[in-house]
């Protein structure tokens, strides 16, 4: 049984003043998140990441489709028992202290007073905020708020933790702290599902990622897999006779770039041998041969560019 199973989830919002027309912000999302994995949910702002998370946490209601959390339909009490949620740009009651907040939230779970105290202390420690227990939340920095947010999310030791942009607006120290917390969660065997648009974080933490663009899922899989398809080598050659340029071009993925007498191109790995042969037999000088550091960012932008050519997702109203 998957930790999170999403089937054809869609969400329309009515837009407009007089005649409300539905605007589809999430279109037919289907996704499975396995137990124990750290799953990154990527996309630019407005792609539908937060919408998905709000659907999973029952804050908004789906227009179409279903989702299950450990087999329980979203919105049911059992589903809530199993998840912990950190909202984007969290705001907690600023008139409460950290301790009071955790104590308050812990009352929504079946815990004895002893267990309650224990858990509050533990999560506070894990978040590194023990010395701030009696400080009012209004005095917390953004990084501290994110950390207390994660603390309240794991208060009841859920199997699945949902984090919405946990790293947003943090300084490098804050980012590192949150990253460590996520790794801690992973080593405790929890499933972590978090959304972000900071790709380097996703690269560092995630087992798998899904990419959302304009409400549609455009890519999902292990990072290594996704990037391998696109990896290759960067070659710079000199003194290539003009007649041979087309042959050189055929080996490359993208058009060659010229600067002076140098030609630069990107070729997939399997064409390397052919290239070397070509250079050797034609006295083309090979200046450099480097593996392409094809990052997630590149993949991301590629994907988005190709998807931009597609039309807007159809809404329930004007589909079929």
């Amino acid at each position: 049984m998957a930790a999170i199973e999403i089937n054809g989830l869609s969400k329309d919002y009515p837009v407009g003043f007089w005649r409300k027309r539905p605007k589809r912000v999430l279109d037919n999302l289907s996704l499975n998140v396995k137990d124990g994995e750290v799953f990154g949910f990527l996309g630019h702002n407005g792609a539908g990441k937060t919408t998905t998370l709000k659907l999973l946490t029952g804050l908004i209601f789906p227009t179409e489709g279903t989702a299950q959390i450990h087999g329980q339909p979203i919105g049911s009490p059992k589903a809530f028992q199993n998840i912990g949620y950190l909202p984007e740009n969290p705001y907690f009651y600023d008139y409460l202290t950290a301790d009071e907040l955790l104590d308050y939230f812990s009352r929504f779970f079946p815990m004895t007073p002893g267990q309650r105290r224990e858990r509050c202390k533990t999560v506070l420690e894990q978040a590194g905020l023990t010395e701030f227990r009696n400080v009012a939340l209004r005095k917390f920095s953004k990084g501290m708020l994110q950390r207390i947010g994660i603390a309240q999310a794991v208060l009841h030791n859920p199997d699945i933790v949902l984090l919405d942009e946990p790293m947003s607006g943090l300084d490098p120290v804050g980012r590192r702290d949150v990253r460590n917390l996520i790794l801690q969660l992973k080593s405790a065997g929890k499933t972590v599902f978090f959304s972000t648009h900071i790709l380097s974080d996703a690269e560092a933490l995630c087992d798998r990622v899904a990419i959302l663009h304009r409400g549609r899922l455009v890519g999902v899989g292990q990072i290594a897999e996704l990037l391998k398809r696109q990896s290759g080598l960067e070659v710079v050659v000199e003194s290539c006779p003009a007649a041979l340029l087309p042959r050189l071009q055929s080996l490359a993925d993208a058009p060659l770039t010229v600067s002076g007498s140098h030609h630069r191109m990107e070729i997939p790995e399997e064409n390397v041998a052919q290239l070397l042969g070509l250079c050797a037999s034609n006295s083309i000088r090979l200046l450099s041969l480097n593996p392409l550091r094809f990052s997630l960012e590149d993949y991301f932008i590629e994907l988005l560019r190709s998807n931009d050519q597609q039309p807007e997702p159809a809404t329930k109203a004007n589909a079929s």
């Binding site: 919002y13 804050l59 809530f80 949620y85 907690f92 009651y93 008139y95 949902l162």
Partner: protein, 260 residues
């Protein structure tokens, strides 16, 4: 579990109100108002006491109303707007518990405030008459009625807070309070027109609006008269019924709402 959760929300709402400094200003004002009634030095003692009671009860009522509106308009709206609600609703708690908890918390706040303001009134009365009469006990009934009135007002406020911005909620609640106080006049207007349809309409509106004039017992108790027992029972039932309607409607609206 459900009760414990709802009470936790109520307690937290109370805590929030208590830590809000504006509250204390309003309470202080109310006490000052009551004390100022003592400055009607020119009038004879008999009427002075009755005026004191009238001003005192009116202050408690009006300031209670202001506090109720002030705290009530943000009750739901603030949590939705600032998104503190997100963390809460992702826990195994129903949306209706949230609404009911907030409602109870606000009422608890008003109860405590009213008690404080009442103490101001009693203190002023003691200062004036240097002693209490047996019929003064009826003033507590009048204060109870004020509490019922505030109970109803918080329900109105809560209802609006579920779908409306704070400013609009405040305006609507205030308007309903004013019209609700003149509810019987609305019906009398209808009787004055000789048109059967208009009269029927006016009567319908009369029963639709919350009738706040039911709760004014100042006239009786300021003259030392008791409030009939039936009335206490009836008013309590009315407040419960009508608030029930509003809270259920609020829960209904809120449960179906997509949170922004």
């Amino acid at each position: 579990m459900i009760v414990a959760q709802t009470l936790a929300i109520a307690r937290n709402t109370f805590r929030e109100a208590v830590r809000d400094k504006v509250l204390y200003n309003l309470v202080a004002f109310a006490v000052i108002m009551t004390a100022s009634a003592l400055l009607f030095g020119e009038i004879s003692i008999g009427i002075q006491k009755s005026i004191l009671i009238n001003i005192g009860l009116s202050s408690i009522s009006v300031f209670g109303l202001l506090i109720a509106i002030f705290l009530g308009i943000g009750l739901v709206y603030k949590e939705v707007d600032k998104r503190s609600l997100y963390a809460l609703l992702s826990k195994p708690v129903h949306r209706w518990q949230f609404i009911v908890g907030k409602f109870l918390g606000l009422n608890l706040t008003l109860l405590v405030n009213t008690l404080f303001m009442s103490l101001g009134l009693w203190a002023s009365m003691y200062y004036l008459t240097r002693g209490f009469q047996p019929e003064d006990i009826h003033i507590w009934t009048a204060i109870y009625f004020v509490l019922l009135e505030l109970f109803l007002i918080t329900a109105v406020c809560l209802f609006f807070s579920c779908f409306s911005t704070p400013i609009l909620s405040a305006i609507f609640t205030f308007l309903i309070y004013i019209v609700g106080n003149s509810a019987s006049d609305v019906r009398d207007f209808g009787k004055l027109t000789e048109n059967a349809t208009l009269e029927w309409l006016a009567t319908l509106v009369y029963y639709l609006l919350p009738n706040f004039s039911d709760f004014s017992a100042a006239g009786l108790v300021s003259h030392g008269l008791p409030v009939p027992g039936h009335l206490v029972l009836l008013n309590t039932s009315y407040a419960l019924c009508y608030s029930g309607i509003l809270v259920i409607a609020a829960v209904w609206i809120f449960s179906r709402r997509d949170l922004k």
